[in-house]
Amino acid sequence: MKLALIHHGGTLRAGFVKDGAVQLLPAEERTPYSPSPIRRQLCEKATWQSLEHQPPGESVPLAQARFTAPVPDPSFLAEVDRLTYLAEYAGSPHVPEYRPVRPLPDTAIGSHGGTFLPPSLARLLHVDVQIACVVGREIPRGTVVSMADIFGLTIMASCREFGLAQAVEGPLPFITRDAGIARMWLCRYLDGSHPLGPWIVPVDSIDFNAVNAMLEVEEVGLKESLAVHAFNPVHTLSQVSPLFAFQPGDVIGLGALTEELVIREPLSKTVGARAAIDGIGVLSWRIDTSRWDSTSTYRPQYRDSVDRALQFHRSRKGSPPAQTGK
């Protein structure tokens, strides 16, 4: 069973991928608020299983299908780190007791979508590929999670622009802790920075103990790995559950499978990227630098009252001018 969402005839249509085509389900009533109802309906497993056995209707060949993110407009994306742990605990008798997690804003795109980088700041691009689980039921905060709470799996790529953080940071971060946190967020907020797709497969489609993954960015590099997951999705969700409540359609990336593919040269043109995981499929998207116009580096502009306060403070203390970023 592979569930997909595609753009077809100017609308968003759901369907099953079968026999080289996407078998479309009946079109839903369109309203301005349609993504949320579709998202809720999408994750009702019983509904989908009954629909799958209906006689085939309209279909679109795979080559012509324009896939979008299989969970439309996800209101919650969380990214859990894995390689961090493996590196930290290498050779250590400690077993990690919990996993760091980072919530993300809605930056998901599907195949045929684009990750957009400001060209002047596209200096140090990191890309990795993860298995993402789609939550199928409402999970109140702190409750025990079971495999039945997970609707399915899909591929999530994570694109981070560390050069962006360097470009806006001053020579001396004002507070290490806050600057470090902010730097982490800066990297992950780009438009379309989390491609999802191409479709959703059942949880039992892959073996979590040994996952083949591949990540490729055109003309730049290729990473492949046979990865062993430290945790399964249930364990991961159980660790995250004390922090968040989940709703159907929420997406949680389970951590990088391959090493990060690091692109150190500024991209001068749009390039294609592909991420593949055995048992799920191949997700392709593009990394685009053409959308943004700015070529200038950010320079902060403080409020007048702050400047006046600083001058007053310095005049009283008689100290030399303090570091003020750039």
Partner: protein, 330 residues
């Protein structure tokens, strides 16, 4: 105009305040449409205020025109309530794009400790699951098994001026940034720092843990953030730096400040964020606390009969959130 979500007669509604009454905007829209088939407002108002702006395509001007039409024509289907008979709700339920700026206030850090201005507005992300309404209870804990929170830093709350984006865009120039702001509201940034510290990995110093960058934000995700009570549109608040906050913790005033103390202005923050990502209608950017954050105030909520957090702002309204202490729950 003061836009709000409220509950009355067992239904959740979107409306606005007018002369002490909460007027149901969606009921007014429906009534207008029934009386006049040529009514231009055919898109229903559903979900939160961010939903109607982002998905429904409602602009602030459209909402204001609808409100004016409802007040002027007083259609037969108009539904309104006394403001004392309604329950204020979170105006942006389930919103996943709330960017919380940090430490943009010279009162706490810059002039007293570091005295070096930040090079850019630092920020992180508030989770949608922690959002509550202006009068909903805020819950401490429960913590995961094994977390030790005794003798750790106490929970803290900071009232923050919050900007609601009305018109999206990217690379917005500073001089045009205020034109993209729809209004302002209060965001109470709760942080249970005891959880953050308790989440440190055994055998590693806090500095080492900070390299990974997630532990300090655990506390922020573990505590509720109240939003509301309404969104004051920008035309009613031409000078956002005049906003005044008073934070009252169970009867004791622990914070008082003015938004004029912010290091970065609203225009600067909107300009900065629009360089990173495409801002969308309904996005929220919190501007950090204008005063202290109550970090060094250590009430023990187990000894208080009815603890609460109250924020009073003459410009943006009042909130009152009872504190429910479940830290000791198993």
């Amino acid at each position: 105009m003061k836009l709000l979500r409220f509950e009355a007669d067992g239904a959740k509604r979107i409306g606005f305040l007018h002369r002490g009454r909460a007027i149901d905007l969606e009921a007014g829209r429906r009534a207008l449409a029934e009386e006049n088939p040529a009514c231009p407002w055919d898109v229903p108002l559903q979900g939160g205020i961010h939903d109607i702006m982002r998905r429904g395509g409602w602009t602030l001007d459209n909402l204001r025109a609808l409100a004016d039409a409802v007040l002027e024509s007083e259609p037969s289907g108009l539904v309104d309530f006394d403001v004392n008979d309604i329950r204020f709700l979170n105006p942006v339920p389930g919103h996943s794009r709330i960017f919380t700026c940090r430490g943009l206030n010279p009162n706490t850090l810059w002039t007293q400790h570091v005295f070096a201005l930040p090079a850019y507005p630092t920020f992180d992300l508030a989770t949608r699951t922690g959002l509550i309404g202006p009068h909903d209870p805020t819950v401490l804990g429960p913590y995961p098994p094994g977390y030790e929170y005794e003798n750790q830093a106490p929970p803290s709350w900071c009232p923050e001026l919050t900007v609601v984006i009305g018109k999206g865009g990217h690379e917005i120039p500073r001089d045009q940034a205020l034109a993209h702001v729809a209004g302002y509201t209060i965001f109470i940034d709760g942080a249970d720092l005891g959880t953050s510290l308790a989440a440190h990995r055994p055998g590693y110093s806090p500095e080492e843990c900070l390299r990974f960058g997630t532990e300090p934000t655990y506390g922020r995700w573990c505590l509720n953030h109240a939003i509301g009570p309404w969104i004051t549109t920008a035309d009613e608040l031409p000078d956002p730096y005049s906003v005044e906050f008073t934070l009252i913790d169970s009867g004791l005033v622990i914070d008082h400040g003015y938004a004029t103390s912010l290091i970065f202005g609203v225009d600067e923050v909107v300009h900065f964020f629009s360089r990173l990502l495409t801002l969308e209608p309904g996005d929220l950017i919190t501007m950090s606390s204008p005063g202290f954050d109550g970090l060094f105030f250590r009430p023990d909520y187990r000894d208080q009969p009815d603890p609460y957090i109250r924020v009073h702002s003459p410009q943006l309204g009042n909130t009152l959130n009872p504190i429910v202490d479940r830290r000791h729950a198993s």
